[in-house]
Symmetry: C2
Subunit: 625 residues, 2 copies
């Protein structure tokens, strides 16, 4: 049932100013910093299994997952920026991890050292399967990067052991992860090893989930009310509303999509489609953020999307991108790429500072010292060097280097361009070869040129028409009036390409005043500025007044300028606005307030870049007039 | 330094439709229900001192205060509605309480039974002095209602004992309440007994508060950061910003005002004035609510007044009324009566249902299932029969019967009418006597008639010109063109009154569109409707559409109607509004949304009456145009 696959990272090279620079910073700063933090906090030494009661740095239940994600990132990074030194370091860490595996295949530094008699006794809360999943993903990445099987084999032994513990037999636990993630990891392990038994275990976890009587109520004494946060309140095929812990939910849905595709399970895939709609049509911020409340880090009720208290965890945007990528490859439909792109350029990149060493866990859409009580954001609205629960920074480590592979998909005879960032692709497919170069200033300019550098055979080129251009686009094949049909939201160029062929595409990138559905009360009377795939925000550092008192007229010609103190090429949106001042003679409230209006200029920058120039208030949604 | 005193309840009789009915319901429903709840939960039997480890209903540290407040209410209620049965019941409870007093004077059912060796070891958290204060207030009320001294004497013994524990001597604790309240109670005990030693103890608690080194840091191991929530971060005379737990703060400020007045301490009084300004000019909701965050039930930073997550505890409005009343009597300035009135008609009465048996702990200014996540208000936005921490219902019990005494003040030769609700006053002052009757439909009508029923000597009559009438008022002494001077915001009628004299006053009560100071970002572009002292709110039960999408034009003639399914005489405000609909074709966000506007009618009811006709969303602040 699969339409496309994500290509190997080896075949793509990014040349653009936005993604390439972020990936490079991730390589040079974010990964090294995270390794350092893992070292400092004991997460690495934990694998030496030398911790004893009374020693510092007691291994925490989720520690293994953090270091696993950093290693996964390091492995992809090795593909992008090969270095013997890096490879040696990676292998050294891999050897350390392998050395922590127990005779029976078990590998978890917390339970092995801290609670050796408590394995699998608190599956609801204690992250064993989650850590296993991330170690498996790291092993797959290590295998792809180095061709070495040692880590992969180690994880196969662990997975084999897990398959003895969990399963339908009467002497097995009929349980499934309290923090989903291993489902998608097992699918990747099955792919890398070409062994369907890991897929079978993924399918068991997915099918067992939410069955009655509930394992966790019966065996771990959890109240029924707790189940919803972990998506175990009913079988996944019966879940129509995305609910509960956002990251868990989106990892689960990704694993469901993987499993549905590999087992041709159309019913399970239908559940994925329903949950996709629930997430994207009723529970997603304009930035791609998911998770509207700190309580349970959860997706709450439909259309409950407050801006100030938005949770929108960086990890949730990463997990949403994974879910989108899977749905995109299965269906070939551009609508999934629209969300993938939204996540990459907005919800995910906002999670890390431009210098690569500070991180947001939560990504509110409005941040103002006069609106947010200090307690609303325990991190004080500033990106932090790390967290005690450092899932987000370590997730950035492994997400960034994978971006190159996400902008394209391919199959036997076609290549899809999802995100036309400046790049080179060199694809040898079953039916032909295509080596091409994409030029332009995307995402800041809608003019895109694709030059064919080398070609043979017949390769169809699919080019996504983004939702945001509202069907305002032009294209031109050099010296040719080829009329490309539209298929699933993609322009399709079916032809024998030749070296020297050039395709020019122009996507309309006028500034857009986005409005919310009336069902979102928090955004009533407000607009968000958007241009191309980028959501914009007003920071007080550019707008030296109280932004809450600003109204932006929508019927104006906005202009673009080079954003101040942001990377070269960053475009700011400028325009006129009305600043209201309500004078109440010092009183809080007045029946005869003097309201004055002053015309001012405003400047908006890409939301993903906010809080990179010092402390600042920030508004994505602003009053309009 | 005192200008006025609050008269004895015996001298005032309310005849109006609003306050009188609430007081009667309090008598017939609220107090009996609260006695029942105290009985059910063990709060009454706790005074039998029969609790043992393993028995149910383990006495909690704050229980004594709850029952004390109910008894205080019962005592005032006995003055208003005398009954032998009620008096017998009251005396029976009083005897029970007295029986729980220990040899040394100590009286606390938790510590006596549950932790007998822990007296005064956790003054920061464990409410011993707070409970003592409420028992003292109950004893004073009992003394005023019955003339019996037994409870008063019991409390004097307790206060005497407390004065041995706390004080400046080296063998005494240099501590002060973790939950303020006893300061004002000791002042009342000093008044009732005419014994200044209790005032001295109040002054000790106030002066010791916040001194360095901090008692609680040194002796109870509290971190410095915890001190602000309890107003002990610095000496009270140096506190310029109202901060921390709202109820604690306002009880403290009330006690400071009492102490300053009785000791002629102008420096301490200046601190009260500064803190008053901080509370009312920078930290108060339009309803009189104080406390903007659930975290620490606290006043947060200046101008941080979110509507949806407003805490605005009913107790905080009661405490603010107490503070206002004290400042009013000391200074004679109408500005304090403005706030007193705002609290009574809005912030306090919203705390109890019209049937008198359901209560709000928190009083948000916007409540909408689409805006409030269920978790924002743990009580589901419905008034509740009681709470585990039932300070608010029991505070209502004792506040309501005192309202009559708060609408007037008097001194040797003058009477002040603060709130001209229909009523009768019969005052024998040093310089004369005045028996008068106020007629009208206040607070729904600004036409007020004062008839002199009996008079002798020279009594000056002060009549407050409320802030909300913006100086739009007329007055007429029957057959007389008396030109009344204004003093401290009061019209002053200095004359020899005669039986048959009539004074007609008209206060302008046009509907007002209130706006917030620009410093309040949550209310930008919004208005609140107000008429006279009443803040109005839109409930979905009257307005069958999504109120968040409504815009009210301010330049219109509003009309008044009888409110549906609310007490006779309740006036609703009606008008035209624009209902916006943003159609995004089912998407959450759109750049080409279709915005349609529909003219609709709206109906607003007094905010204090919301949620009396079933579940409903409610908005005090609405968008304007």
């Amino acid at each position: 049932m699969k339409k496309w696959s994500t290509p190997n990272l080896h075949f793509v090279k990014l040349n653009d100013d936005v993604l390439k620079n972020r990936i490079q910073t991730n390589s040079e700063k974010t990964i090294p910093t995270n390794i350092e933090k893992c070292q400092e906090t004991g997460r690495i030494d934990s694998f030496k299994l030398e911790w004893k009661e009374g020693k510092p740095n007691c291994p925490h239940v989720f520690w293994d997952s953090d270091f696993a994600k950093v290693l996964e990132g390091l492995a992809y990074d090795l593909i992008l920026f090969p270095s013997e030194k890096k490879k040696k370091l990676l292998n050294q860490y891999v050897d350390l991890i392998i050395s922590a595996q127990q005779e029976d295949g078990y590998l978890n530094t917390h339970f092995t050292q801290v609670e050796p008699d408590k394995r699998w006794t608190n599956i609801f809360n204690h992250h064993e399967l989650y850590c296993a999943g991330h170690l498996m993903e790291a092993a797959v990445a290590h295998f792809h990067a180095t061709g070495q099987r040692n880590f992969l084999d180690c994880m196969c032994r662990y997975a084999d052991y897990i398959a003895t513990v969990f399963g339908p037999a009467s002497n097995q636990k009929h349980a499934y992860p309290g923090h989903e993630e291993i489902e998608l990891a097992l699918c990747r392990l099955a792919d890398a090893t070409n062994n369907p038994k890991y897929l079978k275990l993924a399918k068991y976890f997915i099918d067992e989930r939410g069955k009655k009587p509930n394992y966790f109520v019966t065996n771990e004494n959890l109240p029924e009310e707790a189940l919803e946060n972990r998506q175990m309140h009913k079988p996944v095929r019966e879940q129509h509303k995305a609910i509960g812990h956002a990251v868990r939910a989106l990892y689960l849905y990704s694993g469901m999509a993987d499993t549905a595709e590999r087992t041709n399970d159309t019913e399970l895939f239908a559940a994925c489609e329903t949950l996709w709609q629930s997430v994207t049509e009723r529970n997603m911020y304009i930035t791609g953020g998911v998770g509207s409340t700190r309580i349970g880090e959860a997706i709450a009720k439909d259309y409950y999307l407050p801006n100030v208290t938005a949770y929108a965890e960086t990890c949730a945007s990463i997990a949403a991108a994974f879910f989108a990528l899977r749905m995109l490859n299965i269906t070939g439909k551009a609508t999934y790429a629209d969300i993938l792109e939204r996540e990459i350029y907005n919800g995910i990149l906002s999670g890390v500072s431009l210098d690569g060493v500070k991180f947001f866990y939560e990504n509110p859409l409005i941040n103002d010292q006069m609106i947010s009580n200090q307690n609303h954001n325990k991190f004080g609205h500033l990106r932090q060097p790390w967290f005690q629960t450092s899932c987000c920074p370590t997730n950035i480590c492994r997400f960034c280097p994978q971006i190159g592979s996400m902008i394209f998909s391919c199959n036997e005879n076609s290549i899809a361009v999802h995100i036309p960032a400046a790049s080179e692709g060199d694809f040898q497919l079953k039916d032909g070869k295509l080596n091409f170069k994409i030029s332009g200033k995307y995402p800041y300019d809608g003019a895109i040129t694709i030059d064919i550098l080398e070609a043979s055979g017949n390769v169809d080129l699919y080019f996504r028409i983004p939702d945001w251009c509202n069907n305002q686009y032009t294209y031109q094949l050099k010296d040719n009036d080829y009329d490309a049909p539209i298929e699933n939201g993609y322009l399709v160029f079916k032809r024998s390409w030749e070296k020297g062929d050039q395709l020019n595409i122009n996507l309309d990138m006028k500034v857009q005043c986005m409005r919310s559905n009336s069902k979102l009360p928090y955004n009533a009377g407000k607009i968000a500025l958007k241009r191309g795939p980028l959501v914009y925000a007003l920071e007080s550092i550019d707008n030296n007044y109280d932004i809450s008192q600003l109204k932006i007229p929508t019927n104006q010609e906005f202009t673009l300028t080079d954003a101040k103190d942001l990377p070269a090429g960053t475009k700011a949106i400028c325009g006129k606005a009305i600043l209201e001042n309500v004078s109440t003679e010092g009183k809080l409230y007045s029946s005869n307030a003097d309201i004055t209006q002053q015309e001012v200029s405003f400047t908006a920058i890409p939301e993903a870049l906010w809080q990179n120039r010092g402390k600042s208030s920030m508004y994505v949604w602003v009053r309009s007039c």
